[in-house]
């Protein structure tokens, strides 16, 4: 019998496979030049909208913890929203893209490990997200006077970012599992519906949470975005003296608010990631049982 002649499938292979995934995604993204341009211009116009709003100086209520700096506040919001929605949508979009392009069966049959497969599905989308982030930060700094004050707590900011991405990845895996668990192959799913709406309305991307009714503030506490946005803004803009802004902060007055945010995110990640992973695997397994895994018939 002829033997399997594929090279090693160890770590080096898995990493190379990941970079192959990313390159493929970048080609896909840049193939239609007009769409690429429209995509990037859309990001820019989004930035302009909020920079113009900043001219009205919405620096009043609730902005004390964030140095009354609306431009920095909203740019951080946009950047985080971009990264977190990538974490949230990445697995879903990746599976769907492979499904409709008849690539899923090939990927599932290749020796890439399931974690690499899953990360690989969204890796390309992270690279795209970084372009958007660069536009928000670069455009903000060059055109709208985006500055971060001295005394920004960078390690805390990085920790919050990391934990938030992990937590949202957990939610993203749950969203992707819906493709097969409830047959949500049509482009939307219930998990993202709930999370994105809560995050968009209540988590404070565009305005501080304190302007909302208290019960909505508690509701906002159900999504990681809320802690992530507050944590990173206070770490970067708070000037070393974070203020309690969320209901949870007032519940735990002994802890520093940024620490509370980080803790909340850590707990969230510890729950959401394993649960999301289990659901994702369960979805794939279900699909293999009832034959909906791929478009191949």
């Amino acid at each position: 019998m002829s033997s399997i002649d594929a090279g090693s499938t160890g770590l080096a292979y898995q990493l190379r496979a990941l970079s192959t995934f990313v390159r493929r995604d970048m080609k896909l993204w840049t193939y239609f030049k007009v769409n690429l341009l429209v995509d990037l211009l859309g990001v820019f116009s989004n930035l302009v909208i909020y920079a113009v709003i900043a001219r009205f100086n919405p620096g009043g209520e609730g902005m004390a913890a964030y140095n009354h700096d609306y431009v920095a506040f909203v740019v951080i919001g946009l950047v985080f929203n971009t990264l977190l929605s990538t974490a949230l949508s990445g697995p879903y979009m990746g599976v769907m893209d492979s499904f409709w392009n008849s690539r899923l069966e090939v990927l599932i049959m290749s020796p890439v490990s399931l974690p690499v497969f899953t990360v690989g599905l969204s890796a390309g989308q992270y690279v795209r997200a970084l372009f958007r982030v660069a536009i928000y930060l670069g455009g903000g700094a060059l055109l709208f006077g985006l500055r971060f004050p001295a005394g920004a707590d960078l390690p805390a900011a990085a920790l919050v970012l990391f934990l938030a991405v992990v937590a949202c990845t957990g939610l993203g895996l749950m969203a992707a599992s819906m493709i097969y668990i409830v047959d949500a192959r049509g482009g939307s799913d219930p998990v993202r519906l709930v999370v994105e709406n809560l995050a968009g309305v209540a988590a404070g991307v565009y305005f501080p949470v304190q302007v909302l009714p208290v019960w909505v503030q508690w509701l906002a506490g159900l999504v990681p975005h809320t802690y992530a946005l507050d944590g990173i803004r206070q770490a970067l803009l708070g000037g070393g003296t974070p203020l309690p802004t969320l209901p949870l902060h007032r519940l735990l007055p002994a802890l520093s608010p940024v620490l509370t945010d980080a803790l909340a995110l850590a707990v969230y990640s510890a729950l959401a990631l394993p649960l999301g992973w289990a659901m994702f695997k369960r979805g794939l397994r279900l699909a293999k049982v009832d034959g909906r895994l791929s478009r191949w018939v």
């Binding site: 090279g7 090693s8 493929r24 049959m109 020796p111 191949w296």
Partner: protein, 349 residues
């Protein structure tokens, strides 16, 4: 893993699907949803206890009509689907307990589609991508792509994007992707479906000469073209409604359904009484006639002689007496079509 014997085995493989009817509206969907939740959907048995053993190096054909269960069997062997009962091995690896190795031991080709093709990358970039995803060394990737492009007559398309290829060329690309990795087992689901005769011939030759003979890969291919199976395969299995009805070499299968002699005659001005008279010839067990041209009364007739008796002379005499004009007559072999008809009870298409 050499010397483990069979390349593919299945034992009591069973697969049952819920019957899915798309609901027209929500009112329609509700009863189905409730039934589904109660686990009481209508069911469809796609594989019903399939036992199969394919030897190392065989080119094996799985013959069946639409809906017979061919794709289901192939997907299970490719680890893309889980059976509801029974088990299988691929290159000696159990699909339940040694999934990763079983998966790594086979490659899959699906006829009539885009499977595995990146539409926005050129033909040669597609081949490279496939090689990289399989962990091959760059030099090997280059060598194999050049070789397979040559073999499949795609060299001048190497720098074109699949979107702008013809359907046949695109299909050859999916076949070429298969060549990048040499797995012990190759699973092909209707590899020549919807192809024009030229491309189909190229693909068949590639499968038989390159994949099976030269590389020594064991091939399991499904098809509903009986002639194709007869021409290509060492052994075939006939599957209908999820059951294997027979499994043997085409020649033995043919002999098993019929061991007498067969005469094939083309004749004009054939009348019903003439055909009836053929059946009355001593030793004739069966007569099958197919009308070719109503205006001419042209029939294509197959006459089956019982043990030892050749019905040729008798048939020519009877037809002559009935006023028919015999165009040609020859001794014929039974075909897989007859085997299929006899075992399944209807024609395949």
């Amino acid at each position: 893993m050499t010397g483990r014997g069979a390349a593919i085995t299945t034992t009591g493989l069973r697969k049952v699907f819920p019957k899915r009817r798309p609901a027209e509206n929500w009112m329609d969907a509700m009863p189905q949803l409730v039934k589904g939740l109660a686990g009481r959907q209508d069911r469809k048995v796609a594989l019903d206890g399939v036992d199969l053993k394919i030897e190392d190096g065989e080119l094996f054909g799985l013959i069946g009509a639409n809906g017979a269960g061919k794709t289901t069997l192939i997907k299970i062997l490719a680890c893309l689907m889980r059976p509801d009962g029974g088990t299988a091995t691929v290159a000696g690896y159990d699909i339940h307990t040694q999934r990763m190795m079983a998966k790594a031991s086979s490659s899959v080709l699906k006829g009539g589609g885009w499977t595995g093709v990146l539409w926005m990358r050129t033909v040669s970039q597609n081949l490279r991508f496939q090689g990289e995803m399989s962990g091959l060394a760059p030099a090997l990737i280059e060598r194999r792509s050049a070789e397979v492009l040559e073999l499949l007559d795609l060299t001048d398309k190497a720098d074109e994007v699949p979107w702008y290829l013809s359907a046949g060329q695109r299909h050859k690309l999916t076949v070429a992707l298969l060549f990048m990795v040499r797995t012990p087992v190759v699973l092909m689901d209707e590899p020549t479906v919807h192809l024009d005769p030229n491309v189909a011939q190229t693909v068949r030759r590639f499968i038989k000469e390159t994949v099976n003979t030269k590389r020594g890969q064991t091939v399991l291919m499904s098809t509903h073209y009986l002639q194709e199976a007869e021409l290509m395969c060492d052994r075939v299995a006939i599957i209908d409604q999820g059951r294997l009805l027979a499994c043997d070499s085409p020649s033995r299968l043919k002999r098993s359904v019929y061991d007498g002699s067969i005469v094939e005659i083309r004749a004009d001005r054939c009348t019903e009484p003439g055909l009836e008279a053929l059946k009355a010839i001593h030793g004739v067990t069966q007569v099958r006639a197919r009308l070719q041209d109503a205006a001419l009364g042209r029939q294509s007739i197959r006459i089956y002689g019982g043990n030892g008796l050749n019905p040729m002379a008798g048939a020519l005499e009877v037809l002559g007496a009935a006023g028919a004009e015999v165009k040609w007559a020859k001794s014929a072999e039974p075909s897989l079509e007859e085997v299929y008809l006899k075992l399944v009870g209807r024609e395949i298409n």
